[in-house]
Point group: C2
């Protein structure tokens, strides 16, 4: 396992739980490498020069920017090498080995929240059929949802994930800020967040849009913009999303 961040941590732990032998955790961050190695029975390594040649699979689970760097620094002919990025081309690994691929689990990870991978889609791309089969079999040991995904699709999935998770979290944060301004605890809105996500789990979100924008209720929209007058960022955000929602609803025209 090359990397010791959120995804590296959750992935190494998940494979360890399935009885896989993690040989090394390789990371320049000595403390993080030591911690994750300790949790997974691996050897911590801080220098790429000490990378073992004996692994069946090398997982490069580092930030996107660091992948080319690592690819340049190591050569592992004939070894199966993958990265875990939603956006980086798999060809970056061509210089490392002629057996390479992408192992992209679609989820948001943190170090401290342990993740059950079983329902997490793992998107696989590989340099050839044989590598694909190996990666799919391995992914199948931790997840029930393994998918063959090409580069363009993976990019679209990553972009969709930014909307569905990162931007959604920012919407939650805006709600938190607004509530705070009137001394209302965030927990008041949690059942609503839960139900909204639950709906999206059962129906197409195109069919469940509610609120002033989809009704094109100008009175409420103006009132809300007025409430946000001292927060130009949120005000602009409110205006633009409302316009997009209204525009997307044919009933308004």
């Amino acid at each position: 396992m090359i990397g010791s961040g959120n995804l590296a941590t959750q992935l190494a732990k998940a494979f360890h739980r399935k009885g896989k032998n993690i040989l090394q955790v390789v990371s320049r961050r000595r403390e993080a490498a030591g911690l994750l190695a300790g949790l997974t029975g691996a050897k911590p390594v801080t220098d790429l020069q000490q990378l073992s040649r004996d692994a069946d699979l090398y997982i490069i689970a580092v930030s996107d920017d660091a992948i080319p760097e690592i690819a340049k620094a190591v050569s592992l002919p004939d070894r199966l090498v993958v990265h875990t990025s939603g956006s980086v081309d798999q060809e970056v690994l061509k210089q490392v080995s002629d057996r390479y691929g992408v192992f992209y689990p679609l989820q948001t990870f943190s170090k401290t929240r342990d993740i059950d991978f079983s329902d997490i889609p793992v998107c696989i791309e590989a340099s050839d059929e044989q590598c694909f089969d190996q990666l799919a079999a391995l992914a199948g040991e931790i997840s029930d949802d393994v998918r063959k995904v090409n580069s363009m699709q993976r990019q679209a999935i990553h972009l969709a994930a930014v909307f569905a998770s990162n931007f959604t979290n920012y919407m939650y944060r805006c709600a938190e800020d607004i509530l705070k301004s009137e001394n209302i605890p965030f927990d008041i809105i949690r059942p609503l967040i839960r139900e909204t996500a639950k709906k999206a789990g059962q129906q197409s979100p195109a069919l469940t849009q509610t609120g002033p924008a989809v009704r094109n209720d100008r009175r409420i929209i103006e009132k809300h913009l007025q409430l946000l007058k001292n927060d130009p960022g949120k005000r602009e955000l409110y205006a633009i999303i409302s316009e997009l929602i209204a525009r997307n609803n044919p009933k308004n025209f």
Copy 2:
């Protein structure tokens, strides 16, 4: 019950389940009034002139725009009258009775998804202490989370709900559109949506922001903007939210 929409339906059914006697369902929409009346053992009424004088409580659960209209049309001196809006001032009911208030359950409702009110916050505002106590007692029969909320707070809650629910649903919809453009089914992103909402149920979203914007990863941001080049609306939305997220993260400056 005056109204036969999503909230009127769910609220009438919830009170009916608790053994409350719903006298009438009043709605100009004959079919909807008949349906909801049938479900709750009430009498359907399509003309406000036939409004019973015998109810202990009158719930005006109609669209915001229709509340003043109804308030003008009925006079119920000494009867307790509430509306259910997040944004409309309670004083609009002054002309109906001198005992009035607001009964605002914070949730997203649809007619077909039956809602368990027990964990839904019900925000109560009332013309006087005695009305408040009566409304709080009634709310307490369907919900374990009854809160005293003033007008300014209720407006803030409604605005926060637009971000946390309506706008969040729109983020889901953007994700769905993006996936569709590469023929990927929406279900691939559902575990991510679930986990993102779950995190917000346990932590402050200010602490759980992830993604390219909070890392100020310009390379990915540019790549995503490029992917959205044929969709100016989503492109602008992506740019603005990313900028707000980056700006909110002190690490980037």
